[in-house]
Amino acid sequence: MDNIESIQKNIRNYIMVFGALAILTVITVGASYLQVGVVSAIVIAVIIATVKGSLVASIFMHLLSEKKFIYILLGVTALLFLVLMFVTLFTVNDQVGIHVS
């Protein structure tokens, strides 16, 4: 399946991804010094983090070419992750009464 050549090619890819990750890290730190609003700051940071995360997952963790079961599993997990984050958030925000502090 993976012969030596393709591994060599992969190694080049890995190094490139490393470069990309480093650059993105610098960018996200730099962006945080820009004085943008909270919301856009969050959006920018989350987008960059997602790009970095996908690079790690798809190249280092070989998700670009995985088997069906793993995709299903991760799909379900991602879905539940979103449910856990957002349905909870929606529920807490859809609240009768007020917070006192």
């Binding site: 996200t28 280092f60 088997k67 856990l84």
Partner: protein, 197 residues
């Protein structure tokens, strides 16, 4: 009798057992950190004031550590690739770099971040931000520690398996690598969330 598909993949799924096992484990880790992230989001949206991370935490140190973890991630995958091309000594070198960088991460975390915080009486009980900061990074650091231990094992005594069952050993390193990349991936999200926002 032997348990099938510990090394060679099962034809219809195309996977060997450990590969499925580790991905299942990672899925549960996603939900573990998912629970903590949703705690973060909830507490943050529910609070009136939330400090800017950089006002409490040191962004340069965080950036340094981010780089260290990213680098260790790439050395990890390189060490696996070295096994794939039958080069054990290269594997050892990359593996060494991997756990070395992991250790650097931990030391920087403890010595240059946690301890100074404690000296300034910035304990988890001080504020919600610090509470979530210490919990998230502490749990992440434990994961790094676990990974470092596993990696040291494969670098040292574990690598004996290369002589007897090279394929199985490569699989093991791949599986350890998946875990290590995941730990890196969590940090990729933790860093901006805690330090930059």
């Amino acid at each position: 009798m032997q348990i099938p598909y510990t090394v060679e993949p099962r034809p219809d799924t195309g996977l060997h057992n450990a590969k499925i096992g580790i991905w299942l484990f990672l899925a549960s880790e996603v939900m573990l950190f998912g629970g903590l992230f949703s705690a973060y989001v909830l507490l943050r949206t529910g609070s009136i004031v939330w400090p800017e991370g950089s006002s409490i935490l040191s962004v340069p140190i965080g950036t340094f550590n981010t780089m260290a973890l990213i680098a260790s991630s790439v050395t990890m995958v390189l060490s696996w690739a070295a096994l794939k091309i039958n080069n054990l000594s290269k594997f050892k070198m990359y593996m060494f770099l991997t756990y070395f960088l992991g250790l650097v991460f931990l030391i920087v975390k403890v010595v240059f971040e946690y301890l100074p915080k404690f000296e300034h009486h910035l304990y988890p009980s001080e504020s919600t931000f610090l509470a979530i900061y210490f919990t998230l990074t502490g749990l992440h650091a434990l994961h790094v520690l676990g990974g470092v231990i596993v990696n040291i094992y494969f670098w040292g005594p574990g690598s004996k398996m290369w002589e007897t069952e090279p394929e199985r050993f490569t699989n093991r390193v791949e599986v350890a690598g998946l875990y290590w990349h995941f730990v890196d991936l969590v940090w990729i999200f933790l860093f901006p969330v805690l330090y930059l926002l």
